[in-house]
């Protein structure tokens, strides 16, 4: 008996990706005043979509890229507005994914009659 299907694996992978995104955001915000610091963004959505369409032949990866936001006078380019937006959305997305995963488990429990 193996519990889990492709959907569950997809949800779990996406949870990991959003976790990584929050770590990137935390790093950016911690360096909001560090001179010369360039902020980063995590990308994974298109890679995941591609992997899902390929039906198992391609795997999804997440990558970090430069944010390319405007720099201020001491070379720092952290945009608090952008980071806050990314953070809030990431949090909500994570909650939704965790909820989806729990619902998969609930469905299995119902099938077991519990």
């Amino acid at each position: 008996m193996r519990v889990g299907d492709t959907t569950m694996s997809t949800i779990e992978w996406a949870l990991g990706a959003e976790s990584e995104r929050q770590r990137v955001t935390a790093h950016n915000i911690a360096n909001i005043n560090t001179p010369g610091f360039r902020s980063s963004r995590l990308e994974f959505e298109s890679s995941l979509a591609g992997a899902m369409q390929s039906n198992g032949s391609a795997s999804a990866t997440w990558t970090t890229r430069a944010a390319n936001t405007p720099q201020n006078l001491n070379g720092n380019d952290v945009s608090l507005e952008a980071e806050t937006q990314i953070l809030n959305k990431s949090n909500l997305h994570y909650e939704a994914l965790a909820s989806a995963l729990s619902m998969k488990f609930t469905a299995l429990r119902s099938a077991l009659g519990r």
Partner: protein, 135 residues
């Protein structure tokens, strides 16, 4: 530990902001500090900050490398009646610019709030992870 790593980075950001605020308040408190010319004048303090490398196991964040004196020429003040004045009547003032310090205070406070908010949201996220599979 690597678990809840976003909290470590945010907490390092809080520390950096707090150290900066401490330096700023020290500067503001000493804006009127004068010394006699045969001593070192009070020099405004500034924090030197750099980013901590972030990787698979390293959580990243920011770090205070040093607290340095703000460079610049000394602030000669003509005050012959001052007990510390030299024979020409000058004392050495502090090189604290209140305008700069007030601006920095607002920036440092804002960064403190931003890191605090990061901690709140990350904690919220981790809590929803702990609900997975619960009945």
């Amino acid at each position: 530990m690597a678990l809840f790593g976003a909290l470590d980075a945010a907490s390092s950001g809080l520390t950096v902001s707090r150290v900066w605020l401490d330096a700023i308040s020290d500067n503001v408190a000493n804006v009127n500090t004068v010394r006699s010319p045969d001593q070192e004048p009070f020099r405004a303090r500034m924090v030197v900050v750099s980013a901590v490398s972030r990787g698979a196991t390293e959580t990243g964040g920011a770090h205070v490398d040093a607290i340095a004196n703000r460079p610049g020429d000394p602030n000669w003040i003509y005050d012959p009646t001052h007990p510390l004045a030299d024979e020409r009547g000058y004392v050495l003032g502090a090189n604290v610019d209140l305008g700069v310090e007030m601006t920095n205070m607002i920036i440092a406070n804002r960064s403190y709030q931003a890191n605090l908010r990061m901690i709140e949201v990350a904690t919220d996220t981790y809590r929803s992870a702990l609900q997975i599979g619960r009945r």
